[in-house]
Amino acid sequence: MAKITYITHNNKKHTFEVQNGLTVMEGAVQNDIPGIDADCGGGMACATCHVYVKEDWFNKIPKKEDGEDDMLDMAFEPKTNSRLSCQIIVSDELDGLEVNIPSKQA
């Protein structure tokens, strides 16, 4: 279990306990967080689960695999700390993770 905080574009914080093994995207979808649509269902094929990961966390979470950066090209306003939340798998080590959701995705 890890407490994950989703910060929506209006700066509202939503914190939930997400089970290990689920993705950060699934944690958002199960809790109806606006802005994480996940149209492709976690297939790294749509970029609608795009989040910004706070700098200190960005280097701690598992690195991007092939294809994620290609997909991020399509995301709304990608930045250097952009990730696809469907590719971040929750574990105890991620307890306290905070991610920001881009404004236009909501």
């Binding site: 649509d37 609608t48 090209d73």
Partner: protein, 338 residues
């Protein structure tokens, strides 16, 4: 105006198999899709990715699945209307009047929405100012490349579309290519060619930049692009092209008076009918307790919706359940000898 027993919206795997089921039980149907090709998400999102959970098909790609479904439709004559979006669905006595963006209209007792997660639309630039120039000097696809002759064109994106157009237009236009990072995801040969043209000063390349603003009174005059380090550059340009792929939007479906749940349509599990009689939803776009977004579920849902269509299309006939292995009438429809 076209009359048909059923109109299917969406030419993805679910729409295709639903058409098969309709034709098999003797109903005619036509299919409308907003994309310019058949296959839906399978073709648009993952043509090369293998799928492992289609019953009796251990492994196939999205493209193979689409081709197999089209092969299965070969005995039947089905009219496809591609690159057309259904704009309007209106009740007209016992039928539905359906109008598309391509100017087609259909009168049908049955509308089957097999629209996946909606229609694919181009992803747009984020600065609001860009909207003002859309379809005048800012485009998300190229319809007539001749308008760019002798002009300055700023192309955004890092995939094959952006690269191909940068290369093509560099012959007769001044081309700026802008991408948010150094790596391009286009085919290697295309990336190499682009770098060649850049070295020959035929393409001005700006990497780690993104669109920040667009200016111009009546026509577009210049754009601002912003580097990762926040530095802003001003580019004079006549045209802008953005190639950021496609995003799925529910689009006009939201206005047809259907009960929606987020981006999905609520249906019953007997007919897969919506709250409107004669409008069904199948595949990824429908929702009901226990719904699984699997292709195999779409096939089941389409088969049941097709039987429900029979009642409305042939009110005076009785539907008889038959097997393709033994039924003479089904075999005849399939073009097999009796």
């Amino acid at each position: 105006m076209k009359n048909t027993d059923a109109l299917i919206i969406g030419a993805g795997p679910t729409g295709l198999f639903t058409a098969h089921q309709l034709k098999l039980i003797g109903l005619d149907c036509e299919i409308v899709d907003n994309l310019d090709k058949i296959g839906g998400q399978c073709i648009e999102l993952y043509p090369d990715k293998p799928i492992y959970d289609i019953p009796a098909v251990p492994e196939c790609t999205g493209e193979q699945l689409t081709n197999n479904l089209l092969n299965q439709l070969k005995p039947f004559d089905i009219k496809f209307h591609l690159s057309e979006r259904v704009e309007e669905v209106k009740k007209e006595e016992k039928n539905w009047l359906v109008k598309t963006s391509g100017g087609n209209s259909f009168l049908t007792p049955n509308v089957i929405i097999a629209g996946g997660v909606g229609s694919f639309e181009p992803r747009k630039f984020s600065p609001k100012e860009c909207e003002k120039f859309e379809n005048k000097s800012l485009f998300y696809s190229v319809k007539d490349k001749n308008i760019f002759k002798g002009k300055t064109v700023s192309i955004f994106g890092g995939g094959d579309s952006a690269l191909d157009w940068a290369i093509e237009l560099s012959k007769e236009s001044k081309v700026n290519l802008i991408h948010r990072r150094d790596e391009f995801r286009g085919a290697q040969a295309t990336v190499d060619k682009m770098h060649e043209l850049k070295d020959a000063d035929k393409i001005n390349l700006f990497t780690k930049y993104q669109m920040a603003n667009a200016h111009g009174e009546q026509v577009l005059e210049n754009i601002e692009i912003k580097h990762d380090n926040n530095e802003i550059k001003n580019l004079k340009t006549d045209y802008v092209l953005g190639f950021f792929g496609l995003i799925m939007q529910l689009g006009p479906i939201a206005n047809w008076g259907l009960n929606l749940n987020k981006k999905t349509i609520e249906v019953d599990t007997e007919k897969f009918e919506t709250n409107q009689k004669g409008i069904y939803a199948v595949g990824d776009i429908c929702t009901y307790p226990g719904k699984l977004k699997l292709i195999l579920s779409g096939f089941h849902e389409g088969a049941l919706a097709a039987r429900a269509c029979f009642k409305l299309a042939r009110p005076d006939e009785k539907y008889r359940f038959e097997f393709t292995t033994t039924s003479k009438s089904l075999l005849k429809r399939l073009g097999k000898k009796e």
